[in-house]
Symmetry: C2
């Protein structure tokens, strides 16, 4: 039996591939509509017995353990424990987005720790409001799981959610916990534009500079490694790529910097760079032309391709540009900027906007083995 301390402790971002041997930690999240409301923020949490399942602990037991001791930011006016929470929306508007992760489909617990899954769920939601230019202020978490789920799995999942939210300065203000066939994590994020205009996908203009913040292809490479050589070997060879797959690290500050000036349209790269740029082009009624230098021929070991990706691609006999152009889930940001203002620091130009539709990029020709310009 291990005792839970009376206050939640987040140890910063724990690389999920490193075995967790934290002597003390605390659960994150998951308040329920039916929560009894008698949790005391700093009450000692209940003890855990190894081998306990969610059914043993009971819904309210899980919730009690998940909500005890979690800090709330100033924006949380009413936190867990009521029918609904109340969150400050200082400028009179609130950004909102939702994402659902399903076990076996979006994550595997033999490839990721529960904590990593929680962190990933927070990151992908936070990236969505950041792409609008908003800072996350609060999350609500609806969680489904089988009754035989080990209680420790929910504890660690909650821990990942709670700590990742806390690192963003946001509260986990409510939730729901229900029985389901598989683990399903459904998170909704609220965000604050801090008085700024929302950054839509639909306002790219001919002449704009297309730029990217953050790195794409890392998550896809990590996934390819996990699928090819298994977790142990993949972690041994390329821990950074596996970690990138397990927990994306969106460059939020670069998105906020873009939103503060010069950006016309922005999105986070969740489906793949080409696909997400296509969303901007379609929504804006324009064409995006990628520079040749942004999509180099593979034999050019261009500075555009991080050595880590080149190396892993060589190891797997794969194409790093495919990862970088079509791999999703890194949650980098792509945007179209007014050409008359300098790009914010950290943004790399990769193309331009012009009249037309779709994406024009030099693409790999499977016939010749080379690349050609392709719309």
């Amino acid at each position: 039996m291990r005792a839970h301390p009376s206050a939640a402790i987040c140890l910063g971002r724990v690389t999920p591939t490193v075995p967790l041997s934290r002597p003390i930690y605390q659960l994150g999240v998951v308040k329920e509509r039916a929560i009894t409301g008698n949790q005391k923020p700093n009450a000692p949490a209940s003890r855990r017995v190894d081998g306990e399942t969610v059914a043993d602990v009971g819904e309210f037991g899980v919730i009690d353990r998940a909500t005890a001791g979690r800090r709330q930011p100033d924006t949380t006016l009413v936190g867990p424990g009521d029918d609904a929470a109340l969150v400050r929306a200082a400028d009179g508007r609130v950004a909102v987005s939702t994402d659902m992760l399903v076990e076996g489909r979006h994550f595997r617990l033999d490839w990721s720790t529960p904590e990593a899954v929680g962190r990933k769920a927070i990151a992908q939601n936070a990236a969505d409001v950041a792409a609008l230019g908003a800072r996350p202020t609060a999350f609500v978490v609806a969680l489904g799981c089988p009754s035989h789920t080990p209680a420790t799995v929910l504890d660690e999942l909650s821990d990942g959610i709670g700590c990742a939210a806390e690192e963003l300065g946001a509260g986990v203000v409510g939730g729901d916990l229900v029985q389901a066939e598989h683990i399903v994590v459904s998170i909704t994020v609220l965000g604050d534009l801090e008085g700024r205009a929302p950054v839509r996908r639909s306002a790219a203009q001919p002449g704009d500079v297309v730029a990217i913040a953050g790195q794409t292809g890392m998550s896809a490479a990590g996934l390819a490694l996990l699928a090819s050589v298994g977790r142990s070997r993949a972690v041994e060879l390329y821990p950074e790529l596996v970690a990138a797959h397990q927990v994306p690290t969106p460059p939020y500050d670069l998105a906020y910097a873009a939103a503060r000036g010069g950006v016309h349209a922005m999105t986070d790269v969740s489906d793949g760079l080409l696909a997400d740029l296509r969303h901007i082009a379609d929504a804006s009624g324009v064409q995006i032309v990628l520079h040749d230098s942004a999509v180099p021929i593979v034999s050019d070991d261009s500075a555009f391709i991080p050595p880590l990706l080149s190396d892993a691609a060589q190891f797997l006999d794969a194409n790093p540009m495919t990862w970088m152009l079509t791999g999703g889930e890194d949650h980098a940001f792509a945007a179209a900027f007014d050409p008359s203002t300098p790009l914010p620091a950290g943004w790399r130009p990769i193309g331009t906007v012009r009249d037309g539709h779709g994406i024009v990029a030099p693409m790999h020709d499977t016939e010749s083995g080379g690349w050609h310009s392709f719309q």
Copy 2:
């Protein structure tokens, strides 16, 4: 093949047990983070072929059909089609709550239509923010389903969600659509307190009048009928009770009336009247004493028991008070009011608050077959 019209049409609350033969209708909801953003609000939606599955239509096909033509209220500043939505929060705060419904656990498609499931999901979320005193302004919907799900099921589910939201004056502003083993509907609601203080569970005071708005036990009776005699027979005998189980109708206006004055603590009745009053008692550190007249002996055909419940209970040889005291999902509201102000119209007094803890109610004694006071 049936064509979708170019504008969403909600036909008001359709009693779910009545076969739907609407000549035209339109889908409701479910925008995705990866939505292409090129939906035109009034573009003709795509046509449907009978027998098509979600896999046939594709994720974006489902989303296109679900978002086309749905009206958005003035509070929706950025609707579906971007990474995140933006909703007005006029008084600088936003209420938020989330609930997840899982097929086979919270609903069965042989007992409810997909449209009814969508309406129920909206109602139970809306009741949560109403219990805080807030009016729903927006919903986001994360939906998981198997790829072999008939596209019509999602269309009708979306229709139920979209129409129920529209009837509340709220927008469905975003969503996510993913593959899952079963249908999972995870909804988050945002709400507006319109300048009022939030109504917590924790502020009931000794001397307060405990009152209820709406009817409890109807949903439990409907469920018991469905389980006992099957859908066709249950609908034939007690259509109102089956409908109450399929789609709860929370008395939202009575919750807002309470929030406008005199109420100290409020909750919606989702887990059962006794359980939810217990939540208020625990959160407030008080005891709630139910009047004998509110919990009549069964042989007393008290006015407190609706004839419909008495009748169905007799038919099933069941106890209507068990339904009324422990049946959840009606989403009535229970509250503690300042005794110096008159109860708002529509609220019925059922007890009082005093020092102590827990609930005191006359309870059925299984030994004697009578009722006794029980804490």
